[in-house]
Amino acid sequence: MTGLVLRDIRKSYGAVDVIHGIDLDIKQGEFIVFVGPSGCGKSTLLRMIAGLEEITGGDMTIDGERVNDVPPSKRGIAMVFQSYALYPHMTVYDNMAFGMRIAGESKEEIDRRVRSAADILQLTQYLDRLPKALSGGQRQRVAIGRAICRDPKVFLFDEPLSNLDAALRVATRIEIAKLNEQMADTTMIYVTHDQVEAMTLADRIVVLSAGHIEQVGPPLELYERPANLFVARFIGSPAMNIIPAKITAAGEATALELTGGRTSSVDIPTAASEVGKTASFGVRPEDLQITTGEDFLFEGTVSIVEALGEVTLLYIEGLVPGEPIIAKIPGILAVRRGDKVRFTADKARLHLFDAAGNSYRAA
Amino acid sequence: ADLKFKPGEDSRFNWQSLEDFRKGHDLKGQTLTIFGPWRGEDEALFKNVYAYFVEATGVDLKYSSSENYEQQIVIDTQAGSPPDVAILPQPGLIADLASKGYLTPLGDETKKWLLDNYAAGQSWVDLSTFKGKDGTAALYAFPYKIDVKSLVWYVPENFEDAGYEVPKTMEDLKALTEKIVADGGTPWCIGLGSGGATGWPATDWVEDLMLRTASPETYDKWVKNEIPFTDAAVVGALDEFGWFAKNDTFVDGGAAAVASTDFRDSPKGLFASPPKCYLHHQASFIPSFFPEGTVVGQDADFFYMPPYASKPELGNPVLGAGTLAMITKDTPASRAFIEFLKTPIAHEVWMAQSSFLTPFKSANKEAYANAPMKKQGEILLDSTTFRFDGSDLMPGKIGAGAFWTGMVDFVGGKSANDVAADIQKAWDAIK
């Protein structure tokens, strides 16, 4: 049971290289989430796994068998397309039943599975409609329904929840998680832009950037120990605050001088050779706390206050010119625009990256 | 325009007539449009003729033709944009045009001219006289360029090799037919195929045989349907044709092949090796479908389709066809053109180029391009009876419709009586 193995997978459209060599081992039954900036190649990679896109270079094996040239229908996959790809001439019911009809399932079985999927996705009352009479979210749900009606070895989801409202999104996410639990042998590969989805669903997250892998690992590992600046910024919302710094002393803990003059020390060991080098100091918005004491990490002026209800986002100017530091403080605060605020943070939750952007912690 | 024969040079031509014509006709600055049936080679030949007319009158002459001339002339006259002169090979169509008032009568003078100058003049006048819109009959057309249809073609050398003689009577012809079968050969090549016009060659057969079994008056009544198609005389002629065409051993390919063999292909059997047949009944135009290089008179020849010895009272009837010129727009130029057709030179020039026969007595027989043409011309001039192709005289729906179809059915196995009844029914329907 070797699952899905990608070896130096490459893709180019004519002269445009889109995927630059991906190596990835996906175990059977694993839930893998691809994240990455828009246009980094997630959909392309997914489509290559599905067999819809020719693989320009490299090898792909499923269960030990090279599948580069195996047609999609023989790969045992189900896929939710980013653009839905519903059959415009079929009703919702038929859209969902199509795959099973092809597979020759019995009428009752088809009906049972379609209705249960429709139930989960709150589509029951739309079963007789054509896609063109559905809202965006409803279409997306039909696309999901079509995939979960089938019983594949590998599930591929391309941003399946992007057009759903929060409640439905949570509900559907949980359904997908359940599905994953019930079908322990089924591999799921999932593309999303939603941090919560990525963090809650994934066994491992693959962070892609411009056609290559930045980091692969379980969600919390990526959150707590991002391998590099890119991952650090990408995982977590709002993104990690990065402050240019200089290493002033190495050892078990590293002492730094931040831009703006304040000094700090982080619980990350560095080699003596690093002293004097420039580095990037990182702290997540949610790790910042407001303090009135003197032992603060930095101080700044609030330029924007965004009250989201459960939390409040503060945009702090003054440290890195042009790039506000963001702080995410629970609850609704009395802070106003223009206030000067001091912040502190737990030393263990600070991050440090070298000039090339790689984490010192990982090293 | 270049003139094919330099005026005054060849004594076969009556150049004087051209000079006489030139005097009374100055049409400079006028135009004349002629619509005719001749295309391809024929058009070139006709062009050489009208070049003299143009040269003499200075008219600007535009000749045009169309594959679907029948349709074209109907459309043009109906729509009010007819040519000045139309030349058509179908008296039936001309009758229709005349009855709708699209033609201009040519006048008594022309009628008289025809009576005087054409051999069997009365036949020609009768042929060219139609009822006008008001119902009065008048001479509307001028016959020009005749085809003789009563011809049987053969290869003299094959006859020689097999020891056959050219038959002088119909009885001989039938005997020869049987003899060839007895010798292991196939006597006849008959092909009725002609795309949409399939069947017409058979109508020539029937008409030819009709003239040899019944009186010309009966023939005239027949084409006017004054006697029904089911008349014994007509059925008899049909059966005569059936004797030839519906006997599997008499025709190349058997009776079944007759209807579907193209008339243009069928004479080729004469020249095959070994010959597929020895005899072929067709009009004077057929040599253009002989294999390339065939010299008429040497490689192939014809004889007059003989009459029955048992019916001497019928004489030597000749079946023919031809084109008739008429004025569709009365202008001085179109009048002049008809006048031009009355000059011997208008006939002789074409005679000298081949494939043109004329009953015009004043046209010099010596002008015929070759011996076979001359021989045909003599058949025409010697005929005691001349009759125009009956199917062309019948209404279009019959002569170019039911009659054709009937003949196809006939060779396909239907009895003469049934076929005649069908055709008569169709005729009744259009009355």
Partner: protein, 336 residues
């Protein structure tokens, strides 16, 4: 050279004049009822007016041409169908009465129904299959060109072509028609295909199918290429094989176009006459309405009354197709 210049000049002039009409009228309309930069009420009133007028501006040249070239002749035909052979004397329904009693007419109606059943269905079917098959092979364009060729060949050419197929020579002599050559080679006896009643209709239909497949193919191949690729990909993922994708995904999505092609060919079949005219001229019981009409219209001077009466029948036969199209169009507009 001067002729060439004249040709180029007239061509450019003609096309430009046509384009100028559309630009000009549109510009004028916006000029007369301006809405840009006008105040609310006036602008929206003007807009309503222009919106009501503009469709008719767009359609005007087409409607004009249709009216003159097709509608007017239709009325003329209807008028003529009540007149005698020269189109001058009113004769009431006698032309129609004659028609019903005419055996040839009944034969034509029967044959026409045969044609209507067979030709549109087969031509559309072959066109569709070929369009689909050639769509994804590298030499598809070449294949399409070859199959399109019959369409491009002039009718006279086509008639000769089929002569070389159906030609019949008596048994024993060399066949120059390939069909009989094959029959003979297989040990059969040659047949005069065109003369076998009833079946000869089908031999004629083959010719029209052979020609019209190119038409269906071109139109359908344009439609096939408009199918969203993703739906096909989705079907591939759903495990559908080539046939299932074709019949369950592609065909339903271009159903509208298939209907259009089918309708067009059906109507064309109603009008078909040149094949019949050239091959048999309606003999051996192959007569069809259009050829019958042609025959009456032009043979030997023509009988306009009867010709027109047959034309009217042909036009009446198309009414069901028109109703069906109205239904489709309204349904489609509701969907929007």
């Amino acid at each position: 050279m001067s002729q060439l210049l004249f040709a180029v000049f007239t061509m450019v002039g003609g096309v430009l004049a046509c384009a100028a009409y559309f630009f000009g009228t549109n510009w004028l309309l916006d000029r007369i009822f301006p809405s840009k930069g006008r105040t609310g009420a006036e602008a929206s009133r003007n807009l309503r007016i222009t919106n009501a007028i503009r469709p008719w501006l767009f359609m005007a040249p087409a409607l004009f041409a249709l009216a003159i070239y097709l509608v007017y002749p239709v009325f003329e035909s209807v008028r003529l169908s009540f007149h005698d052979r020269s189109g001058t004397r009113f004769v009431g329904f006698s032309n129609f009465a004659w028609m019903i009693n005419d055996g040839e007419f009944r034969q034509s109606i029967f044959n026409n129904f045969l044609w209507l059943l067979v030709v549109p269905a087969l031509a559309t079917f072959f066109g569709l299959v070929i369009a689909a098959l050639t769509d994804r092979i590298w030499w598809g364009n070449i294949a399409k060109t070859l199959i399109f060729m019959p369409m491009a060949i002039s009718f006279v050419g086509a008639a000769v072509i089929w002569k070389f197929v159906y030609d019949f020579r008596s048994e024993g002599s060399e066949q120059i028609g390939i069909l009989n050559a094959v029959v003979v080679a297989l040990g059969g006896t040659p047949e005069a295909w065109m003369t076998i009643p009833f079946w000869n209709n089908f031999f004629l239909m083959v010719i029209l199918i052979w020609i019209q497949t190119g038409f269906a193919m071109v139109i359908l191949s344009a439609a096939l290429r408009g199918i969203p690729e993703e739906t096909i990909e989705a079907a591939v993922i759903d495990g559908a094989n080539g046939f299932q994708i074709f019949f369950k995904i592609m065909v339903p999505q271009i159903w509208g176009t298939i209907a259009v092609v089918w309708t067009t060919i059906t109507i064309l079949v109603l009008k078909v006459f040149d094949i019949v005219l050239a091959m048999t001229n309606g003999q051996w019981q192959t007569q069809v309405l259009a050829n019958l009409m042609f025959d009456w219209m032009f043979r030997g001077g023509g009988d306009f009354g009867r010709g027109a009466a047959i034309a009217v029948v042909i036009m009446i036969l198309v009414v069901p197709i028109m109703i069906w199209n109205i239904r489709n169009a309204t349904r489609e507009m509701e969907g929007h």
